[in-house]
Each structure stands twice: as C-alpha cells, then as structure tokens.
Symmetry: C2
Subunit: 276 residues, 2 copies
C-alpha cells in the first residue's frame, strides 16, 4: 500500500544566494511580488565579500552554494549577487538541471527600456565592473547604447555599517558618480544588490534627471515569468515564507537589512561550506 504522495515541485522553494546579506533586497522583492512562494536564502558570510575576488574563486564559491540550494530542493536558483551573476552564471547553467536566474540580464533590460539619451551608467563592485557583464548584456540588446561603468568598492562596507544616510556616504557616492555624471548619463544601474539600501543617497547624488535601475525588482519580475513559463509557480492559495541560512554566524548586518527592508526573518540556520 503506497501512502506517500508524489512531491509537488511547485511547492519547492526558490533558492536565492548572495555572497552575504545584500541579496536580501532580491529576496524582499521576490516576497512582495510572489507572496505564495517559499524562499530559501543562503548568504555566504564566511567568505563575503566576493566583489574583490577572482573569477575562478567566485565561480567555485557560487557552484558550492548552488549545491547547497539544490540540497534544499530548490526549483530555481536565483543568483542575487551581481558579482556571482557576472562571473559564475554561465557555468552554473551548464552544471545544474534547474533554471538559474542572475541579476545582470534583468537589470540590463530595464536600463535599455529606461534610457532616452542612450547613455547608461553602471556602478558595481570591482569584479562586476571588470567583467564587463552589463556592457555585454546591454549591447546584446542594443549595440548603439553607450555604457559608462565605475567600480564603487567602498559602498558595500558603508552600507553594511548601516550608514545609509550619512555625510560620509554622501561624499563617497558623489566622488564615484562624478565621472558618470560628467558623461551626461540619464540612467544608472545599481549593479550590486547592496546598493538599493542606499537608494536615497544615490538618488540625491545622481539628481532627478537620472533614472535609477534596481536589479532586485527586475530580477524578481524575471523569476516570476520564468516560474510561470515552466509551470513551477506555487498555487496562489499557498502561504509563502522566507528561510535564511548563513555560512558564518555573523548576524549584525542581517538585522540591519531586516529592519531596512521590513523583512521578517526568524532563526537563522548555519551551513558549512568547506572541509576544516
């Protein structure tokens, strides 16, 4: 007598990962857009940040975290980290048998839709900017657009310290944006999942004429249509939730982000990422 019901894959979680906690901006966007979905988030806080590391190392770390998400039965893997999206998504798509959605392509599409004068700025980590991933994605859509990129390595530490609204953060942003604004951009891609937390400060520095493109929101829209096209969306009467696991027990910025994003995160699991 067989009593086990076959698992309904639509009820499996959306697996989301980031090098740390910045990807919670993507988790928050997913939760708002898809309240019926269970989201399993892993932050690789034992090895954060990825933004200054090499392609090979970022690829290795990303594949390892992807494996942890598959072990949680993830029906889709969302790479909620621009650096990992820029450097590791192609290889993850080769290796994994579930859909893999990064944040670069949705951000690039939104920027192409937003620009009127054809001049797009991109800010991100050193690794993301060096990869040229946004340029490639934007030029694949429209080779005539001009893209100006600037790495902003100090922004993530400032945001992790909770200095969203602080004169020091304002000065750092003003310095990073100056060369982009001198190029007369009308659209600015926030090419790092931490940056939406400092959206107001970035907006003040960029001025009213520049449209900010938040890859978190656009990534959530891409996940929604991907789930629908694969008939993997959770039934609308299902009650979703957000589970968070970290690879190191450092909760400081997690609670900062929880407050800033108005997320509810309960107990945090730990996951081990490597042999001792």
């Amino acid at each position: 007598m067989e009593t086990d019901q076959p698992r309904d894959p639509r009820l499996d979680p959306i697996g989301v990962f980031d090098s740390g906690i910045g990807g919670l901006t993507v988790a928050a966007a997913l939760k708002n857009l898809l309240p019926s979905e269970t989201i399993f988030y892993i932050g690789d806080t034992a090895r954060v940040p990825y933004g200054g590391k090499s392609r090979k190392t970022v690829e290795r770390y990303s594949i390892e975290i992807g494996g942890l998400l598959l072990a949680e039965q993830a029906k889709i893997i969302v790479v909620a980290c621009n650096t990992a999206s820029a450097l590791a998504v192609p290889r993850m798509k080769e290796l994994f048998n579930v859909p893999v959605q990064g944040v670069i392509a949705p951000g690039a599409e939104a920027a192409v839709r937003a620009t009127k004068n054809g001049r797009i700025g991109v800010i991100g980590t050193r690794a993301t900017v060096a990869s040229g991933a946004y340029e490639h994605a934007i030029h694949a859509l429209d080779p005539k657009l001009q893209v100006f990129s600037d790495p902003c390595p100090l922004l993530v530490p400032l945001i992790e310290e909770g200095l969203f609204d602080d004169p020091i953060t304002d000065q750092v942003i003003a310095r990073y944006l100056a060369p982009l604004l001198a190029e007369n951009i009308d659209t600015l891609v926030l090419g790092c999942t931490h940056y939406p937390l400092a959206r107001q400060a970035i907006g003040r520095a960029a001025g009213e004429k520049v449209t900010l493109v938040d890859s978190a929101e656009n990534c959530a829209l891409a996940v929604k249509s991907l789930l629908e096209s694969k008939t993997l969306a959770a039934p609308t009467d299902h009650l979703g939730k957000l589970d968070v696991a970290l690879t190191d027990a450092t909760e400081g910025f997690l609670r900062t982000a929880e407050r800033a994003l108005e997320l509810e995160i309960g107990d945090v699991d730990l996951r081990s990422v490597q042999s001792a």
Copy 2:
C-alpha cells in the same frame, strides 16, 4: 654513500600569515629587523576579511593557513593579523609543534610601557575588539590600567583602496577616535595590521599628545627574541628574502602595500585552501 646534508633549521623560513595583505606591515618590520631571515608570507585573500567573522570560522581558517606554512618548513608561525591573533592563537599553540607568535601580546606590552596616565585606547576590527584580547593582555600586565576600545570596521576598506591620505579617511578616523579622545587616552594601540599604513592620518586625528603603538614593530621584536632563545635565528651572513603566496589571485592591494612599505615582492604564488 650518504651525500645529503642534514637540513639546518636556522635557514628555514619564518612563516607569516594574515587574512589578506595588511600583515605585510609585519613582514616589512621583520625584514628590516632581521635581514638574514627568509620570510614566507601567506595572505588568505580568498576569504579576506576575517574581522567581521565568528571565532569558530577565524580559528578554522587560521589553522588551515598554519598548516600551509608548516608545509613550507616554517620554523616559527607569526600570526600577523590581530583578529586571528585574538581568536586563534591559543588553539594554534596547542596544535602546532613550532612556536606561534601573535601580534596582541607585543602590542599590549608596548602600550603598557608607553602610557603615563594609565589610559590606553585600542582600535581594531569588530572581531578583535569584541574578543577583549587587548584588555586581557594589558590587564595581565597591570590590572590598574584603563583600556578603552573602539571597532573601526571602515578603516580596512579605506586603506585597501589606498586612501591613506584623503579627507574621507580623515573624517572616518575622527569619528572613530572621538569617544577614545574624550576618555583622555595618552596611548593608542593600532590593533589591526592594516592601520600602520594610515599611521599619519591616525596620528593627525589623535594629536601629538597620544603615542601610537604599532603592533607590527613590536611583533618583529618579539619574533627576534623568540628565535634567539630557541637558537633558530639565521646566521648573519645569510641573505634573507621575502616570498609571498595568496589564496586568491587579487593583486591590487598587494601592489599598493608594496609601494607604501617599500617592499620588493616578485612573483606571487597561489595556494588552494579548500576543496571545490
């Protein structure tokens, strides 16, 4: 016929490690003080920084890098990272059969010698300050001294960006030092191996009345007497050198530090620290 000569352990290298590149300030101090010694430096750039991570994770990483130094025949292990010194040195001393020298004890001794009013300030990473390691080491020498500590999490990123002499760095330092200066300290321990690179800016903010204690120089002195006491010092006619290995191929800040410290570093080796 036996032609192999027995290895002279005095010619084995001094093994030095840091979470990243900041420990090069210790390597530079060792090189100046002990020009006959071979120094083998490993920077764990694949997992930098350690300063915001948990004790368990920092201990695990430190033991792993210690093993890599033993594989290089290190005659002594110098933990040139305050966070690892604060959290991992006791366990490393249990596990390893060579002397292990951290940076906390030498810095604490120098601070106790330097203070006149008995009020010592300590700046470091969040993990170092939370560990209370400097307080414990200072109070073990003189329980009457008062110690005031302040974590400075933004200083390492600013220094890694090469902003040693920059108004933004000055403002960040002024903010961090304000509560310590309000306590009328006359001695300030630079409790992170990055900080000597911003020594001038820290000195400007602290004022002339405050003596800065650089754990790098004091650590080098401690290594010298430890080697002499174990008859492990290299013969003075031996020509020393500095070899550097990193766990991730990110050389940006390495070259910044090389210039600032006037070090000569040639090719950089890569070492793998974990299973893929």
